[in-house]
C-alpha cells in the first residue's frame, strides 16, 4: 500500500483520473522541524494525543506510538497532553 | 411547386384547444394511413390571446418542416376572431373555411372559399365540455371538418379523440359525431 505506482505511458492510466494507490507513498515526516518526544513515565494513557492528531500519526497501544514516517510535527499532541508527557524538540 | 399534401390552419384563442384539434386531426389522418404533422404557431401561447395551429397530411412521407403559408382549409374555433385577424390569409382559391358559429354559412362571404358553419359551442355545452365561459369546442369542430372537407373520416376522428383527449372521451366523441351530422355548407 505504500508502494509508488509506476506509470510508463498512456496505456498504463485509466481513461479518467482514478486512484490506484494510497497517499502512504508520501512520507510527510520530512516536513517536521520540531519532533514530539515522549516521556513515558509521565503518561497517564488518556489517549488525548492519539485523539487529536490530525493525521492519525499516533498509533494506539498500551502507550502512544508516534509514526515518524508521517508525523508532521504540528505539536498538537504536546500542546493538548494534560500531563506534559510530550515535548517538542528541534529536529536534527 | 406541385402539391399533393393537404394543409389545414386552425384559429382559436389560447386555452380553447386549437393545438389539440390540430393534433387530433393529424392522429386521425395517420389512422387512415397518411403521414402527418401537427404543430402550433411557433410562439408564446397565452390564455385568451389569438393562437394558430397547423396540420399537414400526405399519402407520401412528409419531409418539409416549414410553417404553413397557403393552407387548403382554415378552421375557426372562435367566431370573434373573424373581426380581429385575417383568417383567410394565404388560403388557396376554392379553399374551405369551417367556422364555429350559430349563423348560416351563407351569412359569410370570403371570396371563392366555400364556407361551412357549425354551432360547436352549443354542442360542447350540451356534452359538458369545458366551462360555460370557456366551452371546449375543438372536438366538435373536427366533426364539422370531417363533413366539410371529407379527407378524414369521422370514425378515425373518434378514434383519435380516444387517444389524445385526456378526459370525457365519450362526450367528446359524441360531440364530434353530432357536429358531423349537423354541419351545413352554404
Amino acid at each position: 500500500m505504500k508502494d509508488k505506482i509506476i506509470l510508463r505511458n498512456a496505456s498504463d492510466i485509466p481513461p479518467m483520473a482514478m486512484s490506484m494507490g494510497t497517499t502512504l507513498v508520501s512520507k510527510t515526516g520530512s516536513w517536521r522541524s520540531m519532533k514530539p518526544v515522549f516521556h513515558k513515565e509521565k503518561c497517564i494513557k488518556c489517549g488525548t494525543c492519539w485523539k487529536f492528531c490530525p493525521n492519525g500519526s499516533i498509533k494506539n497501544g498500551e502507550y502512544p506510538e508516534w509514526d515518524y514516517e508521517y508525523c508532521k510535527g504540528c505539536g498538537i499532541c504536546a500542546e493538548e497532553c494534560p500531563v506534559k508527557a510530550i515535548e517538542m524538540v528541534k529536529e536534527r | 411547386m406541385e402539391k399533393e399534401m393537404y394543409e389545414v390552419r386552425f384559429h382559436g384563442r389560447g386555452g380553447q384547444g386549437a393545438v389539440t384539434a390540430a393534433t387530433i386531426l393529424a392522429d386521425a389522418a395517420f389512422r387512415e394511413g397518411k403521414d402527418v404533422q401537427a404543430f402550433p404557431i411557433f410562439g408564446v401561447e397565452r390564455r385568451g390571446a389569438p393562437v394558430a395551429a397547423f396540420m399537414r397530411m400526405d399519402a407520401k412521407p412528409i419531409d418539409i418542416k416549414t410553417q404553413i403559408y397557403e393552407p387548403d382549409s382554415v378552421v375557426i374555433l372562435d367566431p370573434t376572431l373573424l373581426d380581429v385577424i385575417d383568417v383567410t390569409k394565404g388560403l388557396k382559391e376554392n379553399g374551405k373555411i369551417i367556422i364555429n358559429s350559430s349563423k348560416k354559412a351563407t351569412e359569410f362571404k370570403f371570396g371563392k372559399a366555400k364556407v361551412y358553419t357549425i354551432d360547436a359551442t352549443k354542442i360542447a355545452m350540451k356534452y359538458g365540455l369545458g366551462a360555460k365561459t370557456n366551452p371546449i369546442v375543438n372536438t366538435a369542430i373536427l366533426g364539422a371538418y370531417s363533413k366539410a372537407v371529407g379527407n378524414v373520416g369521422i370514425e378515425a376522428i373518434e378514434e383519435a379523440i380516444g387517444e389524445k383527449v385526456p378526459r370525457k372521451k365519450e362526450e367528446n366523441k359524441k360531440a364530434a359525431r353530432e357536429a358531423y351530422e349537423e354541419t351545413r355548407g352554404e
Binding site: L7, N9, A10, I13, P14, P15, M16, A17, M18, S19, M20 | M1, A22, T23, A26, D27, F30, D35, V36, Q37, A38, F39, P40, F42, V44, D63, I64, K65, T66, Q67, Y69, E163
Partner: protein, 387 residues
C-alpha cells in the same frame, strides 16, 4: 410495435423511458418542458422505474447526472439554450470524468433578446466540452437517436457523454408519427448499463483528484482517441439499430448525391426541408444532392472528404454563427478538406437564426445561386437578412 403521433419532445421522453434510464435530473425550460413533464408522469405511474431528481437549476441537473453515472447508473437529462449554457462547467466534468450521460437539447437561440425559437448557437457553444453531438431532423429520429446514443456512449471504447439536438418547435412541439418497437426488442438492442469504472464499496477508489502535468496530457490524448473511436461506434450502432428495427443511421445521411454536381451540407430540420428542394431541383434538371449532418462531434472528416472528392461545389448551410468567424459546419467542412488535392469550391450560408423559417424556396434559390457561383467565396453569406 406501437406507432403514435407524438411531439418531438415526447419522442425524447419515450426514448428515455424505453432506454430504461435509472436516474433523471432535469430543470424545465421552454421549449423542453414537455420532455420532463411526460417523464415525471412515467416515473409517478411506475411505468418507468427511475429516480427523478427535480433540481433547482440546469447546473445541478448535470451535476446530479454526473453523480448518478459515477454510481454506475444510466443517467439522463434534457435542456435547451440558456439551460445548456448554465450547464457548461458540468458538461466538461461529465466528459472528462468519462460518464456516458445522455442529454436531449432542444436547439433554441441564446438571449438576449429573449427568443425561444430555434438555432444551433446553444449547442455549438458547447463544441469543446467533449460531448458527442447528434442533430435530428424528424421525431422518429429523435426517438431512435435517444436509444442509440446510450449504446454509443456506454461502449467501452467510447465512454463519453452524448447530446442529441432537436429544433425548438419545428420538432419539439410538432406532432409526427413515431414508431416505437416492443420493449423486449429494445432491451435486446440496449442491455442494462454495466459500468466498468464506478464508485464501489468493494473496490474504493478516488475519482477526479488533482493530476499534475505529467499525466493530464495523456488523459486528454485518451479522451480524444475515444472520440475518434466513436466515429466507428456510431456507424456500427446505426447499422445494428437498422438490423433490429429497419431504420438505418450513419454519421451523415446522403441524399441523391451519386451523380450530384452540387451538394448542400445541412443539419437539423432544414436538412429535411432541403430534401424537397433537392427533389424539385432535380426535376428542373439541376443535379443537386444533400448531405445531412447527423454528427457534429466527433466530426465525420473522412466521410466528408470522400463525398467532397466527387463534386465541384458544396454549399454549407449553418443555423449558427461564431461571431467574427462563420458557421460551425462551414468551418469544420472546409478544415477537413484543406489538404485534399481535389477540393470543391465551398460556400458558407447563415440562415434561420432565432427561428426564422426556412422554406423549400429558400433552399432552391441558395442552390441555384451557388451553382451560378454568385456567392462570396471567402466570406459568409447571410441569407434573407433585411439590409
Amino acid at each position: 410495435m406501437v406507432k403514435k403521433v407524438i411531439y418531438g419532445n415526447h419522442a425524447v421522453s419515450y426514448g428515455a423511458r424505453d432506454a430504461r434510464v435509472e436516474v433523471i435530473a432535469a430543470y424545465p425550460i421552454t421549449p423542453q418542458t414537455q420532455v420532463v413533464e411526460l417523464l415525471s408522469e412515467f416515473c409517478a405511474s411506475g411505468e418507468l422505474k427511475a429516480k427523478f431528481i427535480k433540481v433547482e437549476s440546469e447546473h445541478s441537473a448535470m451535476a446530479a447526472c454526473v453523480g448518478a453515472s459515477a454510481a454506475g447508473a444510466r443517467a439522463f437529462t434534457a435542456t435547451s439554450s440558456q439551460g445548456l449554457a448554465l450547464m457548461h462547467e458540468m458538461l466538461h466534468w461529465a466528459s472528462n470524468a468519462r460518464h456516458p450521460i445522455v442529454m436531449a437539447n432542444v436547439n433554441r437561440a441564446m438571449g438576449p433578446p429573449w427568443n425561444i425559437w430555434t438555432d444551433q448557437n446553444d449547442s455549438m457553444a458547447q463544441r469543446d466540452t467533449g460531448w458527442m453531438q447528434f442533430y435530428c431532423s424528424t421525431n422518429q429520429e429523435v426517438y431512435d437517436t435517444t436509444l442509440m446514443t446510450f449504446k454509443i456512449c456506454e461502449n467501452d471504447k467510447v465512454l463519453l457523454p452524448g447530446m442529441l439536438s432537436l429544433d425548438a418547435f419545428v420538432l419539439s412541439h410538432t406532432s409526427e408519427v413515431v414508431d416505437m418497437p416492443p420493449q423486449e426488442e429494445i432491451d435486446e438492442f440496449l442491455p442494462p448499463y454495466k459500468a466498468k469504472y464506478k464508485l464501489d464499496l468493494e473496490d474504493p477508489r478516488a475519482f477526479g483528484s488533482l493530476m499534475f502535468p505529467d499525466w493530464y496530457y495523456e488523459l486528454k490524448y485518451k479522451q480524444h482517441t475515444s472520440m475518434e473511436e466513436a466515429l466507428k461506434v456510431i456507424e456500427k450502432v446505426g447499422k445494428e439499430f437498422g438490423d433490429h428495427f429497419g431504420r438505418y443511421y450513419g454519421l451523415v445521411e446522403e441524399y441523391r448525391i451519386e451523380d450530384a454536381e452540387i451538394i448542400l451540407v445541412v443539419s437539423g430540420t432544414i436538412a429535411q426541408t432541403s430534401k424537397d428542394a433537392v427533389d424539385v431541383l432535380r426535376k428542373e434538371g439541376m443535379k443537386a444532392g444533400l448531405v445531412r449532418m447527423r454528427t457534429f462531434r466527433p466530426f465525420p472528416k473522412e466521410k466528408i472528404r470522400k463525398i467532397a472528392s466527387k463534386v465541384n461545389k458544396m454549399i454549407v448551410i449553418d443555423r449558427s454563427i461564431s461571431f467574427g468567424s462563420e458557421g460551425a459546419f462551414f468551418t469544420e467542412t472546409k478544415a477537413c478538406l484543406y489538404n485534399e488535392k481535389d477540393r470543391p469550391e465551398i460556400y458558407g450560408i447563415i440562415i434561420g437564426l432565432g427561428g426564422r423559417d426556412v422554406t423549400v424556396e429558400d433552399i432552391m434559390k441558395i442552390a441555384k445561386k451557388g451553382k451560378e457561383g454568385k456567392f462570396k467565396i471567402n466570406e459568409i453569406n447571410w441569407w434573407g437578412v433585411k439590409l
